[in-house]
């Protein structure tokens, strides 16, 4: 059993695992940070997205060993009901989620986009979120929410 230190949502954590190839996703969820979801386990759907050193990363593919020493931000770290990230506030205002299972991944990708490009075009949003699948069909509301968040200075 080895211990892997990483900074999650601004707090130092040590995740224990007997397998260095354990996906970061399981480590996060084992700590109770369940916003990142298992959707496919193949890096295809985006439900597991987190920010790793600021970049959108598939936590289902990122191993705990390779995440060691890095900084992870999950949806829980972006904001809370009491202090919403502008993307979260926009997603709530636009009533984006249906089942909501893809929503965490969408929010991470959107937050990363707006951090890099504060006034994206609709095409920019579609491109940035191309790797986030949604089976309920919330896509139009997602785009509207991200546009709304960008106008608000997200």
């Amino acid at each position: 059993m080895a211990s892997y230190r990483l900074r999650i949502n601004g707090v130092e954590h040590a995740i224990e695992s007997s397998d260095p190839d354990q996906p970061l996703l399981y480590g996060l969820r084992g700590l109770g940070l369940t916003a990142a979801k298992f959707g496919c386990g193949l890096g295809q759907c985006g439900a597991c997205n987190v920010l790793l050193d600021g970049r959108t990363t598939r936590s289902c593919l990122e191993t705990i060993a390779s995440a060691q020493g890095k900084s992870v931000v999950t949806v829980e770290g972006l904001g809370s009901i009491a202090a919403l990230h502008p993307v979260q506030a926009a997603f709530i205002k636009e009533q984006v989620p249906q089942c909501g299972y893809c929503t965490s991944g969408m929010i991470i990708s959107a937050a990363a986009l707006l951090a890099e490009k504060s006034k994206p075009t609709e095409d920019d949003i579609r491109t940035a979120l191309a790797g986030n699948l949604c089976r309920c069909g919330t896509h139009v509301r997602v785009i509207r929410a991200v546009m709304s968040a960008s106008v608000q200075g997200g």
Partner: protein, 378 residues
């Protein structure tokens, strides 16, 4: 973490958050023809609505409140909501095909209208006023022309309604609607946007073990042999085999996943499906495929006019699964003679029956609950 036990259910609505451990009034009956199955008037100015249909993200949690609140005369923020739990909600059938509002909502509407009729009748007696001169609104019944009213809780007290749903209970005039027809926010949205909504996949019980099912390589393949030694290095992983059903269990989730990938099993050959490359031809040759005329327009009895052109085209799209993005998931708490199963299901009543059969568990004691996490099926 949710406490074990089918009767502990959490729910939250802006302005009305139930704390963990809050008692939900048990319905007096589960009979889908009885008013008491659907509605309980609580002593604190609220009512509890018990709904057999489940919210998968389509918004029943607010829509059903709107329907009930409109007919009954109470605000949506005063309505507590229990859904899908087979121990607590009437069997309203499966949630699918857009029937939630169409059928389930109409039962809820009738229940609320029946309750309003009964509460108005009680108030008419107490206030010595004709029922037609009374109105139910804001959780009370009061004279239309002003004057003090009586709260629902003070009218019915701790008693049951003991009424069947009345198909003739007067329905509210749509011209006077204040709730139905308005786009009210769905109560689960904020939690889904802040990562605090508990899905089936996030739900755990103390000392819970994890499992992964290992699927056969083909529909009709039989399980011939399992090499349990192939996972001996995965500490704590064990094989579960029941005839052709194969799974692994472990104390932690990642170990169960690894075991499911590493376990060597031998399955029989089965190749009864059509070849992928020949799928179109196979389907066309199927004797159950029939021609269907969709539109006939402008054709004379004498057939096509001279010079008419015939055009044809062929379209085919691949097999698709009507599935959710979240993987299938369930938690079962099985003890001596009872079991509680939590699963993201569109038909919890059917799951309860299945559990009963699979576990050889007395029907009354096999509950099925989706109250925590129905949204993953879409």
């Amino acid at each position: 973490m949710l406490k074990a036990g089918a009767l502990t259910v959490g729910f939250a609505l802006a302005g009305l958050t139930a704390r963990a451990g809050d008692a939900i009034p048990a319905p007096r009956t589960l009979d889908p023809n009885a008013l008491d199955s659907f509605l309980v008037v609580d002593g604190d100015g609220t009512v509890t609505l018990f709904c057999g249909k489940v919210d998968l993200g389509q918004g029943l949690r607010i829509a059903m409140r709107q329907i009930a609140g409109e007919e009954l005369g109470i605000g949506v923020d005063k309505i507590k909501y229990v859904e899908g739990d087979t121990a607590l909600t009437p069997d309203q059938g499966r949630t699918s095909g857009s029937n939630g509002i169409q059928r389930g909502g109409m039962q809820i509407r009738r229940a609320a209208a029946t309750a309003r009729e009964a509460l108005v009748a009680l108030a008419a007696q107490r206030l010595n006023t004709a029922a037609d001169d009374l109105i139910a609104a804001d959780g009370e019944v009061r004279p239309k022309n002003g004057g003090a009213g009586i709260r629902f809780a003070d009218l019915i007290g701790a008693r049951s309604f003991n009424l069947k749903l009345n198909p003739k209970a007067p329905l509210k005039n749509p011209a006077t609607y204040t709730l139905v027809g308005r786009p009210l926010p769905r109560p689960d949205v904020p939690a889904k946007c802040t990562g605090t909504f508990t899905y089936m996949q996030d739900f755990s019980l103390p000392d819970m073990i994890h499992a992964r099912v290992i699927r056969p390589p083909a529909i009709g393949a039989k399980l011939i042999a399992v090499d349990e030694a192939s996972i001996k290095d995965l500490h704590g992983a064990k094989v579960v085999r029941i005839k052709d059903f194969l799974a692994v269990v472990a104390d932690d989730e990642w170990t169960a996943v690894r075991a499911s990938r590493s376990l060597r099993a031998q399955w029989s050959d089965w190749s009864g499906l059509p070849e992928q490359d020949k799928l179109v031809a196979t389907l066309r040759a199927d004797r159950d495929i029939t021609d269907e005329v969709l539109v006939t327009r402008g054709q004379s009895a004498a057939g096509n006019p001279p010079g008419a052109v015939t055009r044809s085209a062929s379209y085919f799209w691949p097999m698709q699964s009507h599935a959710s993005i979240g993987p299938s998931c369930a938690v079962a708490d099985v003890s001596g003679d009872s079991a509680t199963v939590w699963t993201a299901s569109q038909g919890t009543q059917a799951i309860a029956k299945l559990s009963h059969a699979s576990l050889a568990c007395p029907r009354k004691r096999c509950g099925s609950s989706t109250s925590r996490a129905p949204d993953v099926t879409a």
